[in-house]
């Protein structure tokens, strides 16, 4: 028996919880005041939300046949963007991984550039490319390719840096050259990670691709933008539903494949 331990010590968590809550409220209210939020209007808009929801609950099914083409374009943009980016990321990662005996100066410059690319949001990229190449899917594909390149490269070269160096040494001692060492000592160890990251990028790109059209970079997004500006929430509902179904389906398949890979 534990002697004399009669009173249960107080939990310290409660005080902490309330101070956190108070702090949060203060932060929200001050930022609302600073940014001029009109609480009255916020309240009024709730009424409008009712109207929107009402319209959305009666989708314009005839619109499906019109947005099917753009939907395919969106998927195609995502596929091409992912493919181009991932294709480039493969040799790039093999070059810049620190354990691959590449030129140190060149690979750190390349890594630096890649990190810069990764900080640019893809919407911004797409906006720039729409300005450069004009409205259409090409701008979207390039933006998605650059985004996928950055993402897959980063994840993939970090995986390469964690491999078992033993097989590399074995290949080297058998007289293999650098490319052969990569092909038989490195790639078999990391190829499943690569496909995993490519599919992951694709999942993200499908969502991004749907949004990109909104700023004129091709695909279904432009129809979303149009329906919204025409206040046709019955059509907005159709588009959102379709995107939802496609994203879910692709995520499902992709997840199944990735489970198999690892």
């Amino acid at each position: 028996m534990i002697p004399n331990q009669t009173t249960l010590p107080k939990k310290t968590g409660k005080v902490k919880f309330f101070t956190t809550l108070a702090m949060l409220l203060i932060i929200i209210i001050t930022s609302a005041v600073i940014t001029d939020v009109d609480f009255w209007q916020l309240f009024m808009n709730v009424g409008q939300a009712g109207y929107i929801l009402d319209q959305m609950s009666r989708p314009d099914w005839s619109y499906v046949s019109i947005v099917l083409g753009p939907l395919v374009e969106t998927i195609r943009m995502a596929i091409l963007g992912t493919a181009f980016g991932a294709l480039l990321a493969f040799p790039f990662s093999l070059y810049v991984a620190r354990n691959m005996e590449s030129n140190k100066a060149i690979s750190s410059v390349l890594r630096f550039l890649m990190n810069i690319i990764r900080t640019i949001p893809e919407l911004l990229l797409a906006a720039v490319f729409v300005a450069v190449f004009g409205i259409g899917p090409f701008a979207g594909i390039i933006a998605l390719a650059i985004f996928s390149f950055g993402m897959v490269s980063k994840l993939f070269f970090e995986s390469i840096e964690t491999i078992d160096e033993g097989p590399i040494e074995a290949l080297k001692s058998s007289g293999a050259n650098r490319l052969e060492i990569m092909r038989y000592g490195v790639i078999p160890q990391v190829i499943s990670y690569y496909w995993n990251y490519v599919l992951f990028a694709f999942e993200i790109n499908i969502r991004a691709s749907a949004v990109l059209g909104y700023i004129g970079a091709g695909g279904i997004g432009i129809f979303l933008q149009r329906a919204l500006s025409q206040v046709r929430y019955d059509r907005v509902a159709v588009i959102i539903l379709i995107i939802f179904v496609v994203v879910l389906a692709i995520d499902y398949v992709s997840n199944k494949v990735r489970e198999k890979l690892l």
């Binding site: 078992d164 033993g166 097989p167 040494e169 074995a170 290949l171 080297k172 001692s173 058998s174 007289g175 293999a176 050259n177 490319l179 052969e180 092909r183 038989y184 000592g185 078999p188 160890q189 499943s192």
Partner: protein, 268 residues
């Protein structure tokens, strides 16, 4: 044993001439080493941890650069070889590692086939095109280490001893003149140790491949070696037929520690 000595005098396949190796941190791995190893010899290199056994073996196929001196493989200086000619010399030297160094996710056959890579054009190798003959060579090599039935098994599904025998098959697939084994049994239990050492001995006897094995254990060295080479502090301190490596001789060179070495295997 007398016969292998005689052959050794006829035709050295490995010659070390005044070899020195100083690591960048100043540690002297090898000190003025002179050695000649003949075609078909089974040589065992002994010495305490840090004696320079690995450094010596890895200098022979130039996984290590040496600081001065020369190493001559089958009449050709590997020290001065560059690019393709260096790789061609390496192709004739199979290497076996303590940690097996297999690609664990690949099949046994894939792993053994990598021993053939240096024989073909880079383009064919990138595309993964091995001639049919190579698969036969790989399969033969697996039969030699009694692992023919594991040909399509993933390497990581095998036991340590089996993995080491796959790595022997990989070295054999190179059709090498020399096999270097750096503590090949240090992470294996006594029974698998015996199988692996038996395989190495059989390869030496049947195929006439020169075998050089680094070992911790004096007992194993005596059981398998024709000739024993002793290193201490990077220097050659013993070189002679196994019969001369008696307890008292070794004790005189190394002190008591060398005879107890088996008990503390946990070495880098």
């Amino acid at each position: 044993m007398a016969t292998t000595q005689a052959i050794a005098e006829q035709r050295p396949v490995i010659q070390l001439v005044n070899v020195n190796k100083t690591y960048p941190n100043g540690v002297q791995g090898l000190k003025d080493l002179n050695l000649s190893i003949g075609q078909g010899e089974f040589v065992i290199v002994i010495g305490l941890s840090g004696a320079g056994k690995s450094t010596m073996l890895r200098s022979i196929n130039r996984l290590n650069e040496i600081t001065s001196g020369d190493i001559i493989i089958d009449g050709q200086s590997i020290t001065r070889a560059k690019g393709k000619s260096l790789r061609e010399i390496r192709r004739n030297i199979g290497m076996i590692f303590q940690s097996f160094n297999l690609v664990k996710r690949s099949s046994v056959l894939r792993n053994v086939l990598t021993g053939r890579v240096a024989y073909h054009s880079t383009l064919n190798m990138i595309l993964g095109i091995f001639p049919k003959k190579d698969k036969e060579i790989a399969y033969e090599a697996l039969k030699r280490v009694n692992l023919a039935e594991k040909v399509y098994t993933r390497a990581d599904q095998l036991s340590g001893g089996q993995q080491q025998r796959v790595s022997i098959a990989r070295a054999l697939a190179q059709e090498p003149k020399i096999i270097l084994a750096d503590e090949p049994v240090a992470s294996l239990d006594p029974i698998t140790t015996e199988r692996v050492m038996d395989d190495l001995l059989r390869i030496n006897r049947d195929l006439g491949i020169t075998v050089l094995v680094n070992l911790h254990s004096i007992e194993l060295a005596r059981k398998y070696g024709d000739r024993i080479i002793g290193l201490r502090g990077g220097e050659l301190v013993f070189d002679g037929p196994t019969a001369e490596a008696t307890d008292s001789t070794l004790r005189a060179i190394y002190g008591e520690a060398i005879l107890e070495e088996e008990d503390n295997k946990g070495e880098a």
